[in-house]
Amino acid sequence: MMDDFEKQLQGAFQRKEPSPFFEARVLGAVKRQARERRASVRMRWATAVAAVLIAVVGSAWQHQRSERAREDSAGKEAKARLELALRITSVKLQKISQKVEGI
């Protein structure tokens, strides 16, 4: 049970409202944050895809030189695609495990 002084304290600490535009400012900031996060995720995927593209471009240059050089590039490209596929699959399986184990 609170005494009168404590009730006075409650009165001194009644909740206040923020400014009328606070809600709109927060929602705007949230949208910006979501955009930035998606851009960051896209950057990670783009980096992985760029590695494949770099291998493809390298393959085009080496293709003119020799069959062995061409095969080397194709192999690296295939390796990059394989790693990308395994990366996506591993992340998905980890998240499914997380969902199942969290229940």
Binding site: V41, G75, A78, L86, R87, I88, T89, L93, S97, V100
Partner: protein
Amino acid sequence: MKFAIPALLVVLPLAAQDVKMPANLDRLEAKASEVVNVQLDGALIQLASRFLSDKDPDEANVKRLVGGLKGIYVKSFEFEEKGQYSPSDVEELRAQLRSPAWARIVGASSKKKGENSEIYLKTEGGQITGLAIIVTDPKELTIINIVGSIRPEDIRDLGGHMGIPKIDIGNGKPDNKDKKDKEDDK
């Protein structure tokens, strides 16, 4: 967590892709903000394997895992807005996975979040011959088909190796999370 699988693991020779990706998925590419499309048949997998080092333990492990595979196919779409694809887009695929050769070994869904994750294994004569994964949430659709003998946990456990993120099972985020997030905010 262990995925329930048959005891024997034997590689069988197979055709390239044992789950046909529905043609209607192609039209989703125009709506998606991010598309990943990886198609590796047996020949490409063997070629990639030759470029995995036997001396690097991680690459040697991957080489062993993929050695018997006949195909790896990944289609992943990310959308800016919800409702850019419908459950019927995936229904043709699910119909294929209802055949007797396939068994759904994991299904986890959240109606509240609109998320659904499924893992299917194909077995023939008691041996694993294929793996299919379908993951849907309101802004993402991912379909993975691996042809050949593979255990899901072997790929899952690649997390933390070869640049593959290891998801912290406790909070579902990669371990290299933003340092600004404070532990005491949880």
